[in-house]
């Protein structure tokens, strides 16, 4: 039986291996045909004219992720501090399951919420269609909240109470002790949560498709529509053939490489946190 257990454990290795092989084997030839420079650096995506530049999508993905992070980090880390040190017990009993629910809401439902609330809000205040990079940033910021909150709260609670008590003993207030002593001590755990959030934001697909506008042009304004790499894949895969299809798979390869880099950063930070 031990062999069966070990074999099952090998399936996750096999899965990663297969994902790499299938993606690279199907994506790289297309990328080579288009030309790596033209594909990664090209600013025009027009499959009908055989122009496959995904730079606008790469830039959009990165910018949307940064926007989401600004919202997610500020609210997320502060909420985690609130949960760990300020929240009354009764409120905690409601807020904590609420955050778990936030993590469980499907991305299409987030997209729907974006369409009903965020997009009209932007349309009314800034004009334009409202389907915009800003809408995507706000929704993604909300979507990565639970990840950042949960990871940060765990990290904050793992800091020995002696740190906090020592600071109090030196005459610092409760608030100052937490912000100047406990939060810095939980730094690597909080960063790990943020990096997980980066992964979620850059890989999110359905919600972004519904609210970002999807124009495959260089992002030039917060209020203009953008198309991320993920959106590009889903929007066109249904009818793409030949080189167009290969270019879409190659887009997935680029996204995959981004994710691998993010994962490596995450493991490094996590190991750092474990050593403390």
């Amino acid at each position: 039986m031990q062999v069966v257990f070990a074999a099952c454990a090998c399936i996750s290795i096999l899965a990663i291996f297969l994902i790499c092989i299938f993606l690279f084997a199907n994506g790289l030839p297309g990328m080579a045909k288009i030309g790596f420079g033209k594909f990664l650096g090209g600013t025009v995506w027009r499959p009908a004219n055989n122009l496959y530049g995904i730079l606008p999508m790469i830039v959009a993905s990165i910018e949307v992720t940064i926007g989401a992070l600004i919202i997610g980090i500020v609210i997320g880390v502060l909420t985690a501090i609130f949960l760990a040190f300020f929240c009354p017990k009764k409120l905690y009993a409601v807020l904590k399951p609420g955050i778990n629910l936030l993590a469980g809401i499907p991305s299409v439902v987030y997209g729907f919420f974006g369409l009903m609330v965020v997009v009209p809000m932007i349309r009314n205040t800034a004009g334009g269609a409202g389907l915009s990079m800003l809408a995507a940033c706000i929704i993604l910021g909300i979507m990565i909240l639970p990840t950042i909150i949960t990871m940060s709260e765990t990290a904050l609670r793992a800091v020995p109470t002696s740190y906090y008590e020592g600071s109090l003993g030196l005459g610092a207030t409760h608030e100052r002790s937490i912000f100047r002593v406990v939060v810095p001590a939980a730094k690597s755990g909080i960063f790990a949560g943020i990096i997980l959030g980066v992964g979620r934001a850059i890989g999110e697909t359905m919600a972004v498709i519904m609210i970002a506008g999807n124009q495959a042009v260089m992002p030039h304004s917060l209020f203009a529509g953008v198309r991320t790499m993920t959106a590009n894949i889903v929007l066109e895969m249904g009818y793409a053939t030949d080189l167009h299809r290969q270019a879409l798979i190659a887009t997935a390869v680029v996204l995959f490489v981004f994710i691998l880099i993010i994962n490596i950063c995450f493991s490094i930070l996590k190991n750092k946190g474990d050593h403390h």
């Binding site: 039986m1 031990q2 257990f5 070990a6 099952c8 454990a9 399936i11 996750s12 990663i16 297969l18 299938f22 993606l23 609210i75 502060l78 909420t79 609130f82 949960l83 040190f85 300020f86 807020l95 609420g98 778990n100 629910l101 936030l102 469980g104 809401i105 499907p106 991305s107 299409v108 439902v109 997209g111 729907f112 919420f113 009903m116 609330v117 909240l145 005459g171 610092a172 207030t173 409760h174 608030e175 100052r176 979620r200 890989g203 999110e204 697909t205 359905m206 519904m210 993920t230 889903v234 895969m237 249904g238 997935a252 995959f256 994710i259 691998l260 993010i262 994962n263 995450f266 493991s267």
Partner: protein
């Protein structure tokens, strides 16, 4: 606390206000999301939405509900045994700190971080094309099984580690072998924790869209068998929205999805409470 400088007190007040504001914003966001879905969706829930067969008149979401159940069952059929057995290997057999174990952990962690659209493209290339399954429930379920595998693995491993060693020693002392100890003593003791992982997996399957569109396809009927294409609720909602003809029914589907997710969360909270009580 009595001999504070005024500066320290002012700072404390600002910081306190900040964290309270953040907590309230988080809570408010959740409330607004839930209310938006309910207010926009509930008026559109009609009996015709639950007709047995989908047609363009009733836009029934019933087939999608059945497909969601099938998808959950099928993907668990693959992911649960493999995930639990992997965790048994990691927790009960493998030597701590071995390179092999570290490698398995690294891969399962990597698997956790891969976005669903990448799984979708992989499933399309491997199961739909290379294995000639076509757009089918089976191809979708296999893809999702890989997605939820690390979730189940991790929860099970943690649950197994939480079982006290005295259980194992007692069982060995009574003459039971290792395998019998695992199946009769350790796994039953770890069941709530394993269940929590499985429910987390179920939640991911229910909410998944991007990984299914190009693996299980978007046919709005119940397929005859698992080699047929069928859309789950989440895919149904997205498809209705893209088609643009039946947006109201798309909102109604959002309500159903949200209710399912809330129920799943309640169950997992209940289990978590049980686990905590048992550990104390």
């Amino acid at each position: 606390m009595s001999n504070q400088t005024p500066h320290g007190k002012g700072e404390a007040k600002v910081l306190k206000a900040l964290v309270w504001a953040a907590g309230i914003i988080t809570m408010a966001v959740l409330l607004v999301i839930v209310l938006t879905v309910l207010i926009n969706g509930l008026p559109h829930i009609k009996p015709s939405l639950f007709s047995i067969h989908y047609n363009t008149k009733n836009v029934s979401l019933f087939p999608a509900m059945i497909n969601t159940l099938t998808m959950v069952g099928l993907s668990l059929l693959f992911a649960a045994p493999i995930g639990i057995f992997s965790a048994v290997y990691l927790a009960e057999y493998a030597k701590r700190g071995s390179k092999f174990v570290a490698f398995i952990r690294l891969t399962s962690e990597t698997l956790t971080g891969i976005p669903s659209i990448i799984f979708g493209i992989f499933g399309m290339l491997m199961f739909v094309d290379a294995c000639h399954m076509g757009y089918s429930m089976l191809a979708g379920a296999l893809t999702l099984a890989l997605m939820i595998l690390p979730v189940i693995m991790r929860a099970t491993e943690e649950a197994l580690h939480a079982v006290p060693d005295s259980y194992r020693e007692g069982s060995f002392g009574l003459g039971a072998g290792k395998l019998r100890t695992i199946f009769k003593i350790v796994l039953p003791a770890a069941t709530p924790g394993i269940l929590a992982g499985v429910i987390l997996g179920v939640g991911r399957v229910v909410g998944e869209t991007a990984a299914l569109i190009y693996t299980a396809g978007t046919v709005a009927q119940i397929p005859k068998n698992i080699m047929g294409s069928g859309r789950t609720l989440a895919v149904h909602m997205y498809s209705l929205w893209t088609e643009g003809m039946n947006v109201d029914q798309s909102y109604a589907t959002a309500v159903v999805l949200l209710v399912v997710v809330i129920i799943l969360n309640l169950i997992s909270d209940l289990i978590a409470k049980k686990v905590n009580k048992a550990n104390q």
